[in-house]
Amino acid sequence: MRNNRMRAARAERGMSQADLAAAVGVTRQTISMMESGNYNPTLRLCVAVCRCLGKTLDALFWEEET
């Protein structure tokens, strides 16, 4: 599932995928795959992304059941 909230939060901060990748210590491709929903990251990486973007885990990664 695409993670548009992460993409929006990154854009809000004015960061490119490469900037965020460098900040959390992964490759740009990993960030791209997280945003497109093709990679299921570990909690450690989720927390690093949240800290970097100033958001909570719920705000970026929690999915309500439909």
Partner: protein, 178 residues
């Protein structure tokens, strides 16, 4: 310094996970190839082979390295409290049926493959058909039986080691829980 940094392994968890899967495929292809090579040599030359170095010239360095690699993987997994073979990597009771079946498949599979290779490479028999079938049956029982026992014993020892290690790790992680 920057030039040296390109040799540093990546910390990217996705790449590490993907690399692990890729190398696992490579490892098993290599292990199967080396194993088949050793089996062919044993099937071809072991009957009637007399050597001062035991079976070492037949098994060769590659056979010993393969065995060492498999044992190392099993020990590393046991050191982390898990079994890498089987559906339940953290079983509390030895899954005898599962491992007996796996050992039987290994034993019979390798026994049949070894004898088939011998017959393909050395298709000569001077006796009658009955005695040939009898000899093949006995050989299959002996080879398959030995491999079965070795596999089952190894699985059991690894299970014991993994369970003991897991209990210790759990105790260290959360002393009040157990």
């Amino acid at each position: 310094m920057k030039k040296l940094r390109i040799w540093k392994a990546t910390d990217d968890e996705r790449i590490l996970a993907e690399s692990g899967k890729i190398y696992r495929i490579g490892f098993w292809v290599l292990a199967a190839g080396v194993g088949l090579d050793v089996l062919i040599k044993l099937a071809l030359y072991l009957p009637g082979y007399i050597g001062t170095w035991g079976v070492f010239p037949l098994v060769g360095m590659e056979g010993i390295v393969l065995a060492a690699a498999l044992v190392l993987c099993a020990l590393l997994a046991a050191g982390r409290g898990i079994l890498t073979v089987g559906a339940n990597p953290e079983a509390e009771r030895f899954p005898l049926k599962h491992y007996a079946l796996a050992s039987l498949v290994f034993g019979l599979g390798l026994g049949v493959l070894g004898l088939a290779l011998r017959m393909i490479f050395y298709p000569y028999w001077e006796g009658d058909l009955f005695s040939m079938i009898l000899l093949l049956g006995v050989l299959l029982l002996v080879i398959g039986g030995v491999i079965f026992l070795v596999c089952l014993t190894t699985f059991y020892l690894m299970f014991r080691l993994a369970r003991r290690r897991r209990r210790r790790l759990e105790k260290e992680a959360d002393p009040e829980e157990r």
